[in-house]
């Protein structure tokens, strides 16, 4: 029990430290911190559904983009403290509409279907914007970087708590059972369709709000960018690097990825992407349990 206390205390101190960052850090460091928090929040939310259920979603870019779009549409219409949660709800609504048909198919069908649906939504938004005669939208007077950082920190912490709680709740156990064998899980009374839909919707809320915050950061909305499938693929890469279904996994994966991208992106974007691809291949082949899984296997036995 004492160990759990220690962990909780360490988490609180870490969160407090992050929250104090805008007071001391310059805009460059804060920008990196913001993107780090963004990837953690997205990957934790993704892991809550895909990591636990084994249904790999390549559609989370759609939730991110939908959140960004709703925030942009509500800009100067409603106050921001309302617009961001509404963006999250809109993403959840979208997930509900998509999840109901999509979750009926399994395995590779689900993976490519989510990718297809998210691309479909991207092109629908592009056509809508073109039909409205809008060629990108500019937001003027967005909140400062410090404010966005604190809001993103709150979302990140929330995403971790959600994953932690769901994992230890009946929902998480049911999802894990579905991942191992969906037919067997249903036979012992797991209501698979309902659990999957619930988890899918839950895992869309935070990405929606993250999308809203990030569009305030970039101040410019362009559907090709906001709905880019790269977002989905990056989330999956982070989850694979970290090891996908426990809280520290996505955290570690995101740190690794953001660190690498800061070191290489500006100087040699192609080399960064090549290394990213090579890491992905290497991890799938040699470390399929991810960094956290590997660490647990190496140190776990000694610690207990």
């Amino acid at each position: 029990m004492i160990r759990q206390w220690h962990i909780a205390l360490a988490c609180l101190i870490a969160i407090g430290g992050c929250a104090a960052l805008p007071l001391v850090a310059g805009p460059y460091a804060l920008g990196i911190g913001l993107s780090l928090l963004m990837w953690i929040a997205l990957a934790e939310s993704w892991a809550m559904f895909s990591g636990l259920s084994g249904y790999i979603s390549l559609g989370h870019a759609a939730f991110y983009g939908a959140g960004a779009y709703v925030t942009v549409l509500l800009w100067l219409v409603v106050p921001l403290w309302l617009a961001i949660p509404v963006s999250g709800l809109a993403a959840a609504l979208l997930a509900g509409c998509l999840g109901w048909p999509c979750l009926r198919v399994r395995g590779p069908y689900f993976v490519i279907l989510t990718l297809g649906v998210s691309e479909f939504i991207k092109y629908v938004v592009i056509s809508t914007e073109a039909g409205l005669g809008r060629n990108g939208r500019l937001l003027i007077g967005t909140p400062s970087l410090g404010v966005l950082f604190e809001a993103m920190l709150a979302l990140t912490v929330a995403s971790m708590i959600v994953l932690y709680v769901v994992r230890s709740a009946r929902l998480g156990t049911g999802l894990l059972a579905i991942r191992e064998d969906e037919v067997a899980a249903e036979a012992v009374g797991v209501n698979a369709p309902a659990l999957k839909l619930l988890a899918f919707v839950l895992s869309a809320i935070i990405p929606g709000m993250v999308g809203g915050l990030m569009i305030l950061r970039s101040t410019y909305f362009e559907p090709l960018q906001a709905f880019s499938p790269t977002t989905s693929f990056t989330i999956v890469t982070i989850a694979i690097l970290g090891g996908s279904d426990e809280v520290p996994g996505p955290l570690l994966g995101a740190v690794l990825l953001v660190l690498m991208s800061e070191l290489l992106w500006a100087r040699a974007p192609e080399i960064y992407m090549i290394i990213l691809g090579a890491l992905l291949v290497a991890f799938v082949l040699f470390v399929p349990e991810g960094l956290v899984g590997r660490a647990q296997r190496l140190f776990g036995a000694a610690e207990e």
Partner: protein, 298 residues
Amino acid sequence: MNLSILLSGQLLASVLVLASLYALVAIGLNLVYGTMRLLNVAHGELVMLGGYVAYWGFVRFGISPLLSALIAMALAALAGALIYIAVIRRLFRSVRLLQRVESNSLLLFFGISIIVQNAAALAFTANNRGYQYLDNVVAIGDARVAANRLAALAIAATACFACVLFFRYARSGMAMRAIIQHRDAAALVGIDVDRINVQVFALGFALAALAGALISTTQEISPFMGFPFTVSGFVIIILGGLGNLTGSIFGAVVLAAVEVYGVALISPSFRSILVYGVFIAVLLLRPQGLLGRSIRAR
């Protein structure tokens, strides 16, 4: 808008050209999925590389693209065999990886696709490149078609027909179909699955590279041109049925017709919406494909 354009030979020619190229891409993708359950999202990259081989062959050495298509095919076949031996065998050796082979292969090929795209961008720059080859216009009936598109159609259609014959009559072609039907049973009756897998990779990659070389004569190429072809390829093999090789040709015709007539009737900006719309509708309504009868779950 004039509805008579629907009946024109012009659009029909466009459909045939696009369909024959799509079929080449899709047959390879379907072979690799059907025999090994691998989702090769790097398939479009082979199209891109085939295009570059033809481009450099023509611009640097003055080799006809139709000739360098053969070189591209040989190189791609080699690359396919190497990837199978170096990477895929390792994937098959681990029980844990094999349990979720589709998802793992998707991530694996996605990694490979990023590597190839960016290596190509480093080596060839990200600029679009094009060259003029056989660009005189030929009139057939009321249709006016560039000669390079006609050549692409003729070669691609011949290659597809050769594939159909190969799957029907050649020993290794029949072995490939047997593995698609049931891998374990195929191994039991004495088919060397591992050797056929190497051939599948070589053949699939070579067909994609051939498509790429032909495409480079008709449109500009760039390091990032592959992804749309991968997507179209997946739409087609789902339309035609996963693992159904001749179904892929049918799927290619359907998708090409939807694209060409859709763009002509509505507007070019709706092309992607149409492709993805067809894709989603088929996956949800008939995941076994338009021609398929039963679906093997997972």
